[in-house]
């Protein structure tokens, strides 16, 4: 637990001193969202219909943008290797890395969601569902993305590779989350989707760090 808190504190401190790495994905997110009305046309009806999909795909891309840096600086300065060699649990360390990644990239996206939804004329029910769905899913995105980040950490230009590795794994949450927003817009019950997204989140919390820790071991092993 000490390791977890210390590691999260350190990551937050490092990123508050260099905020551009945190801010860039957020700016990217807003820019992508504002490109769609320019490309499709400004009619509110049309934009409202495709808004959940647009917002979700933009959020996925923004998360993947920041994914590459999850382990990279630690790998380059050797602290990743120190953690693996120490008697501390790699599982907990990886979980802490994922948690700080979520705090720095997932949570700000959740806070930006209402703004993005307004840009695309979603109604109130849709905005709430969208924000809630991202709140439930963004930890899963960080957890799954961590696997890809750890697998490619030793490689030059791993960023694009992370996208290829992780995108297929994001399909289920994308499908469920957009279905939830559409159900909320249509005025029907969303509790079933919430349960499913939570189930996937808890499954990912238990299983994904195992794979990530194994990948970290591989990366530091050479």
């Amino acid at each position: 637990m000490n390791l977890f808190i210390a590691s999260v504190q350190r990551d937050l401190l490092v990123h508050f001193r260099h905020p551009s790495e945190v801010l860039n994905p957020l700016i990217f997110f807003v820019v992508v969202i504002s490109l769609f009305p320019l490309g499709i046309g400004p009619e509110p009806g049309q934009l409202k219909e495709i808004a959940p999909g647009i917002v979700w795909v933009a959020a996925l891309l923004a998360t993947l943008m920041s994914m590459d840096s999850m382990f990279r600086s630690d790998f380059e300065d050797g602290s990743l290797e120190q953690v693996v060699l120490s008697e501390q649990s790699t599982f907990i360390f990886v979980l802490a890395k994922v948690a700080s990644h979520w705090l720095l990239s997932g949570l700000p996206l959740v806070l930006l969601m209402p703004l993005a939804a307004l840009l695309l004329f979603l109604d109130e029910a849709g905005i709430w569902a969208l924000t809630l769905s991202l709140l439930l899913v963004s930890p899963t995105l960080s957890l799954l993305g961590g696997i890809g980040a750890a697998l490619t950490v030793g490689l030059p230009r791993g960023g694009l590779l992370v996208t290829i590795l992780v995108m297929p794994l994001y399909v289920p949450v994308l499908v469920l989350a957009t279905a939830m927003v559409q159900a909320a817009e249509a005025g029907s019950e969303t509790i079933g989707y919430i349960y499913w997204l939570l189930a996937i989140l808890f499954g990912a919390v238990c299983l994904a760090p195992i794979a990530t820790a194994a990948a970290v071991n591989v990366a530091t092993d050479q």
Binding site: L155, I164, L165, V175, Q222
Partner: protein, 245 residues
């Protein structure tokens, strides 16, 4: 049993044993492929609804079955490699990934060709098509990671981890897209249930499925043997073997 497995894990012994299996396996699969294809394309009565286009089924269904079980086989080999560190299992993972990707591509392609006359469109965003497409991306991911890590000692373990993560996700992906949207008929071919199609259509399909599997195994073994020769090219037994050629 375990001793046999252990012996098989040695590249040299695998190479010698597979050398004996390879030729009969390949011949059997080629005979069954041509026989099954001729049976399916020439002698099976056309479907009362789909007409002759139903014959694409004999190419498409075995490929679709093999695409999925190929991924399971790959992750099985990956698990063996991660747990017991048997080098040969890593070679098997490396060799099956492009094979699985191509068979998945064949399943997608023949599905599109079959979809045009029966559904009136090349592609629909249907659950099974989408999950097969995602499966294709999963294969591509393993291949891409391997080629990016070519010079790293950990490439095998990294790919094995990725393959295992994929196989855990595969049921979730299938389930979620099935819930999402579906147009494809449910699987009409299963070993455990009574077939929903008549015997004269079902039997050639079975022959084709078995033939696809045999052919897949034959090619897989050939690729593994090639890889063994490449990695062990400095050992005495490979030099001796090459000298006898």
């Amino acid at each position: 049993m375990f001793k046999w497995f252990h012996r098989l894990g040695s590249p040299k012994i695998f190479f010698e044993m597979s050398g004996r299996w390879q030729v009969p396996l390949l011949w059997l699969s080629v005979v069954m492929l041509t026989g099954g294809a001729a049976w399916a394309l020439l002698f099976v009565p056309p479907d009362y609804q789909q007409g002759n286009s139903v014959r694409i089924m004999y190419i498409h269904v075995p490929a679709a079955i093999l695409a999925q079980s190929g991924y399971v086989m790959m992750s099985g080999a990956a698990a063996v490699f991660l747990i017991w560190r048997i080098k040969l299992a890593d070679v098997a993972v490396k060799c099956i990934a492009p094979l699985g990707a191509s068979i998945t591509f064949i399943a997608l392609l023949t599905g599109a060709i079959w979809g045009k006359p029966t559904w009136g469109t090349w592609w629909v965003w249907d659950a099974r098509l989408t999950s097969t497409l995602v499966l294709f991306f999963l294969y591509i991911g393993v291949i891409a990671l391997r080629s990016a890590m070519e010079r790293h000692a950990g490439a095998g373990r990294a790919c094995a981890i990725l393959a295992l993560v994929g196989v855990v996700n595969l049921p979730v992906i299938k389930f979620s897209v099935e819930w999402w949207y579906t147009l494809h008929q449910p699987a009409s071919f299963s070993l455990t249930e009574k077939p929903t199609m008549p015997v004269e259509m079902w039997l050639p399909l079975l022959v084709m499925v078995v033939a696809y599997y045999l052919f897949f195994f034959a090619i897989w073994i050939m690729r593994i043997r090639n890889e063994i020769l490449l990695t062990e090219k400095n050992t005495d037994w490979v030099k001796q073997w090459l000298a006898t050629r």
